[in-house]
């Protein structure tokens, strides 16, 4: 018998607390698999956010720090600058990264901090019960824009990958999703590339994962997948937003 697929050693045995169909579990395991395959689990140090994934420190089989809301890039800076040869990553949601943590992520990218950020964009605030996020779409309803987000009230949603790509220190930014196996495979490749570029010392690497939030979108996991493809992908295009090769640098 050959094992075709089993749970990664990069994940602990803890049961995930996430809602049924939540993409957090999928992205956690892609990161875990990449770290395991690259032989980096023993060296890795991760930083988890405040948000649904606040307990991510229970799920990754590597040293983890819990950061204050939005501050993960600053925490990761403190870790990576003092442990420059080790892989360091932050795992953040859209409130954590694009709202309260906007300054921290922009400056980490500006400085070209050599860690990897995995950004879960589900266009809503999950943990606190479905409020509007900087990434909530126009017309999308949330508990703090109950008639649907309008440009007049809240402005247009933020495309973080494009924003960070304007900074020289950000050497790689790709937007992916995990709605089906082909997209999942691309997402894993992107995460792997991000860590490879980190280990090569190239600079700040960023993978934005469009994700579903079935509970706060008010739909089943399967309907949520479809909603994502129909509504989020047109506004947040998938693909490589920026990639600076080592030779070019």
């Amino acid at each position: 018998m050959a094992i075709v697929y089993q749970k990664s050693k990069g994940l602990t045995d803890a049961e995930l607390h996430y809602c049924p169909g939540c993409n957090h579990g999928i992205v956690h395991k892609l990161i875990a698999e990449v770290l395991e395959e690259m032989g980096l689990l023993d060296e890795a140090i991760g930083v988890c956010p405040v948000g649904c994934s606040v307990f991510a420190y229970k799920y990754f089989n590597c040293d983890m720090q819990e950061a204050a809301h939005g501050r993960a890039p600053a925490v990761a800076t403190g870790i990576k600058r003092t442990h420059p040869t080790q892989p360091v990553f932050t795992y953040q949601g859209d409130g954590d990264l694009a709202s309260i943590g906007a300054a921290e992520i922009v400056h980490a990218a500006m400085r070209g901090e050599k860690f990897t950020t995995i950004f879960i964009n589900n266009a809503i605030y999950g943990m606190t019960g479905g409020q509007m996020a900087p990434t909530t779409l126009i017309g999308q309803k949330a508990t703090t824009c109950q008639m649907g987000r309008t440009k007049e009230q809240a402005g247009m949603p933020m495309r973080v990958s494009e924003l960070l790509s304007t900074l020289d220190g950000c050497v790689y930014a790709e937007r992916v999703c995990v709605t089906d196996i082909p997209h999942l495979n691309k997402a894993k490749k992107a995460i792997r590339k991000a860590f490879e570029k980190q280990m090569a010392g190239e600079g700040f690497t960023f993978v934005e994962v469009l994700s579903t939030c079935p509970t706060n979108w008010g739909m089943s996991p399967l309907k949520a997948k479809q909603w994502l493809m129909d509504n989020m992908v047109p506004y947040y295009p998938l693909g490589v937003i920026k990639e600076t090769s080592a030779e070019v640098k």
């Binding site: 602990t12 689990l41 023993d42 060296e43 890795a44 140090i45 930083v47 606040v54 420190y57 990754f60 089989n61 590597c62 040293d63 983890m64 720090q65 819990e66 950061a67 204050a68 501050r71 600053a74 925490v75 990761a76 800076t77 403190g78 870790i79 600058r81 003092t82 442990h83 080790q86 300054a103 921290e104 922009v106 400056h107 400085r111």
Partner: protein
């Protein structure tokens, strides 16, 4: 030992290097900018880390990350910047991480002034961040003490796995004085086997965290912290006195006002008035027992608290310690206006007159 002439902020920065500081994260703000400036040049020369963060808030979170991964980490700022750091300080205390935070105090509230002040006493000792936590707060009153305390602060932090603050007023940061680089006695420190250094074959992951959702777990965690703070209160309390053995009027002061008070003591004694100075060195733990016992002495008739603060902040701790045994008066200014020797002398005489 040879004395060297140093500017306060630069000496504080050099003290950190001598204490083996691995990394400094800071942000410019008057009157402490010379600390990050000095370290930006010297840390890399020693192979250590310096980052000018995007804000004081980011800086304290960088400290959290580095401290959590086992490094000697420091930040410095001045009052409004320390306000920004409160979130980080409570997280660091809750996660039981060591670090050193230097506050070169300026006048407030709000943006205030760039002149010296002492309006951060509440913030430092009452825990400006949320939750039940304490930090040892050392208050130097000259540059020699500042460099000694900064070096000790790293050991105190490592000893208890807790943030340690050193608060000087802006005057100490900006002035120049001769100092000696003394050998600071080292403490026996436990290994940092709790740090997130990467597993490297360890059979468990290390996690740095301050979230305890389960009520009993959170209660237990807080009880452990309380026990630690009790121990710190016992072992770390420090104060100094001058001429209190027969004093009728006791001045309570810390930092630069304490230094001015020393000159006021001379002036008062020259007029035949028995004045003494009680100077807390740790603002937390506050030397309550020592002050309480002093206030209880028959020869003490009145107490005068002197601070660079509008209504006084340390005066609350003075009142708590004295427990109504003797009357307490107050002399203070904000905005960087220094209490003068003459003012202290006048206030001291008035306090004694009212007491009699």
């Amino acid at each position: 030992m040879e004395k060297e002439l140093w500017k306060g902020n630069e000496a504080i920065a050099e003290a950190a290097i001598r204490a083996g500081c691995d990394c400094f994260f800071g942000y410019p703000i008057t009157p402490q900018s010379e600390v990050p400036e000095y370290l930006s040049l010297h840390m890399p020369q020693h192979g250590k880390v310096f980052v000018q963060a995007e804000s004081e808030l980011a800086a304290i979170n960088m400290v959290y990350g580095a401290a959590g991964s086992g490094m000697r980490a420091m930040t410095s700022s001045s009052s409004p910047g320390i306000s920004l750091k409160q979130e980080g300080i409570t997280y660091i205390a809750a996660a039981e991480l060591p670090c050193v935070i230097v506050n070169c105090m300026r006048g407030g509230p709000g943006l205030g002034t760039i002149q010296p002040g002492q309006g951060d006493y509440f913030q430092a000792t009452r825990g400006g961040g949320n939750g039940d936590y304490r930090t040892v707060v050392l208050a130097p009153s000259n540059i020699q003490e500042a460099v000694d305390f900064v070096q000790e602060a790293f050991d105190i932090a490592d000893c208890y796995r807790n943030p340690t603050m050193v608060v000087c007023d802006g005057l100490i940061g900006q002035m120049m004085e001769p100092i000696e680089w003394r050998e600071i006695p080292k403490r026996d420190l436990p290994p940092k086997d709790w740090a997130t250094t990467g597993k490297h074959g360890r059979d468990h992951t290390n996690i740095i965290n301050s979230l305890y959702m389960d009520p009993e777990e959170c209660d237990d965690h807080n009880a452990d912290l309380e026990a630690k703070y009790k121990l710190m209160a016992e072992k770390e309390v420090r104060w100094d006195t001058k001429d209190c053995e027969d004093a009728e009027l006791v001045i309570t002061a810390y930092g630069t006002p304490a230094r001015i008070a020393l000159s006021a003591l001379e002036a008062l004694r020259a007029e035949g008035i028995k004045a003494g100075l009680f100077r807390p060195i740790t603002l937390w733990p506050y030397p309550e027992k020592a002050l309480h016992d002093l206030a209880g002495q028959d020869h003490v008739k009145a107490i005068l608290d002197v601070e660079m603060s509008a209504g006084g902040q340390m005066i609350d701790d003075v009142r708590l310690a004295v427990e109504g045994q003797k009357p307490i008066s107050y002399l203070g200014h904000a905005g960087g206006v220094m209490p003068t020797i003459e003012e202290i002398v006048e206030s001291a005489k008035k306090a004694l007159k009212e007491a009699k």
